[in-house]
């Protein structure tokens, strides 16, 4: 079950989107998110949806992968959809003489919300699928650099993030192992009320924390052995560069953003 999480997973292939500067992609995503929420009217939504589709095509990541990433939010979409159907005031929908309780406005609102959520997840996934965690954190580090003069530890934050991402699969595997080991000794994680279940998690969390601390200690020693001494004077295997493709993308994004905002106020 835990292995189904695809958000945040890198898809190692070659594509125009993979070649871009992570900074372009991060800022692009910020613009995208604002545009998704600013979009208004049919044309506005179509523009945003078409643009998202373009990004997906450019990423060369199969559609199937994106759909898998949507799995965890289907429930939210359906749940909020049903609420919107019935709770939005407006013209009731009739089948023959029988009132369904849903309203036309509700159906439209639910559609909008669903579209927004789906576009939100897809465009965020497009960033994480096409950017390796290292270049993602590199990008964040570079974007935060102006603030490091004000005392923000940009490099340390980026390093922490990349290590956290690196250890997600390792810790998931460990959690499953511990859970099986505790179950073998009679631990029961699936019955009883919420408090009982929460209590049952304690024998799982304690070993997990202890092992995480041990891992952290060993990792620190290994990093020191490989001459890690903070961000000063570090070079990169793949230094991030603002290339022509990034300039083109930045211009396209600005135009797209302007269109969506303009459509809202027309």
């Amino acid at each position: 079950m835990l292995k189904d999480i695809t958000l945040g997973q890198y898809f190692p292939i070659e594509s125009p989107l993979h070649n871009m500067d992570p900074r372009t992609k991060i800022l692009g995503l910020v613009f995208m998110l604002v545009a998704i929420f600013a979009a208004n009217g049919v044309i506005g939504y179509l523009t945003v949806a078409a643009f998202t589709l373009l990004i997906v095509l450019l990423s060369k990541v199969p559609f199937k992968t994106y759909f898998k990433g949507l799995k965890p939010i289907w429930f939210i979409i359906i749940f909020t959809g049903v609420l919107n159907f019935f709770l939005t005031p407006g013209t009731k929908i009739y089948i023959g003489n029988f009132s369904t309780g849903a309203t036309i406005e509700g159906v439209i609102l639910a559609g909008k919300m669903a579209l927004r959520l789906v576009l939100l997840i897809i465009s965020s996934s497009a960033l994480t699928y096409t950017t390796s965690p290292i270049s993602l954190t590199d990008g964040i580090e570079k974007l935060l650099l102006p603030f490091s003069k004000m005392g923000l530890p940009a490099h340390e934050l980026a390093m922490m993030m990349s290590i956290a991402i690196r250890f997600i699969p390792t810790l998931i595997e460990e959690t499953e192992k511990i859970s099986k080991a505790q179950q073998a000794r009679g631990a029961d994680f699936d019955s009883g009320n919420i408090i009982k279940r929460a209590k049952a998690l304690v024998p799982m969390l304690v070993p997990l924390f202890i092992s995480a601390f041990r891992r952290a200690d060993e990792l620190a020693v290994a990093m020191e052995s490989r001459c890690y001494r903070g961000g000063n004077g570090r070079t990169r295997l793949n230094p991030i560069k603002f290339k022509k493709i990034d300039l083109t993308t930045a211009i396209i994004f600005t135009v797209f953003f302007a269109i969506v905002i303009a459509l809202r106020f027309i």
Partner: protein, 276 residues
């Protein structure tokens, strides 16, 4: 290459009498040599390994790496980059989510220009036979493969010596074989190798074996002479290679065999002598 003089170390300086984890260790590892360090759990072999690149500094005595005193703060990073380290748990020493970015970690820290990092990463990955996996995620690889990535990460620093602290302890037999073959290949290419282990079969492949017990060096010789000391090794809780053990027991039972053998072939020859 590496030399220790009256090396003493204790984790606790507040306790009296001081219990030394290492007590007066004097060894010298020559350039290009493949040395195995053997010992029971808690004999101080890992502590010794951590002195070879200045992760731990001696409480008493000195450690020299290529003539550099590890206590000299100015030479700190020169010592580190001269001696690559590989640890037991492959999962806890990989920092990146893509193989080649992990191998690049050390050269990046050293501030090497990008083009040279690329070249170092490629040659390090080829040296351990993992070049085809350079774009993979480490957590999808097997234990043996991960450990080879860790070795590549160490040799990408271009050290003169590589110290491996029980690199095969958490691996299955297949992974163990992969790692040992990689180590042998590095040795053949001229790398100085220090292998800390408790597998006797691995130690037989070294040029020299150092046996430690309670913080002291008890034996320091070529494998053939070390494993002849069956009684002493058993006394300090170590095994001898199965073939040595077999012939040792036959000898004890009164058969005219020599038990200074290391490989199955040699053992077969010895047995053939008494049977034919």
């Amino acid at each position: 290459m590496i030399k220790t003089e009256h090396l003493q170390y204790t984790y606790r300086t507040d306790k009296t009498p001081i219990e030394f984890v290492l007590d007066d260790v004097n060894i010298e590892i020559k350039t290009g040599e493949f040395v195995a360090v053997l010992g029971h759990n808690g004999c101080g072999k890992s502590t010794l390994a951590k002195h070879f690149n200045g992760l731990l500094l001696p409480t008493g005595g000195n450690v020299y790496v290529s003539g550099m005193d590890t206590k000299d703060e100015e030479l700190y990073w020169n010592v580190r980059r001269s001696v690559g380290m590989v640890f037991q748990n492959p999962d806890n020493q990989l920092v990146a989510t893509v193989v080649e970015e992990d191998v690049a970690f050390a050269p990046e820290n050293l501030g090497i220009p990008s083009e040279e990092i690329r070249e170092r990463v490629d040659s390090a990955l080829k040296a351990v036979g993992m070049y085809e996996y350079r774009k993979h995620a480490p957590h999808r690889l097997s234990g043996g493969q991960k450990q080879r990535i860790a070795i590549a990460g160490a040799i990408a620093m271009r050290p003169q010596c590589i110290v491996l602290d029980e690199p095969t302890a958490m691996l299955d037999p297949q992974g163990r074989k992969e790692v040992i073959n990689t180590i042998k290949k590095l040795k053949d290419e001229g790398m100085t190798v220090v292998l800390i282990t408790h597998y006797m079969e691995e130690a037989t492949k070294a040029d020299r074996v150092i046996v430690m017990d309670k913080g002291n060096v008890v034996l320091d010789d070529v494998p053939r002479n070390v494993f002849k000391e069956v009684k002493l090794l058993k006394k300090i809780g170590l095994d001898v290679p199965q073939v040595t053990e077999l012939l040792y027991n036959l000898k004890k039972a009164g058969l005219p065999v020599n038990y200074d053998v290391l490989t199955v072939e040699e053992c077969a020859d010895e047995l053939a002598k008494i049977l034919l």
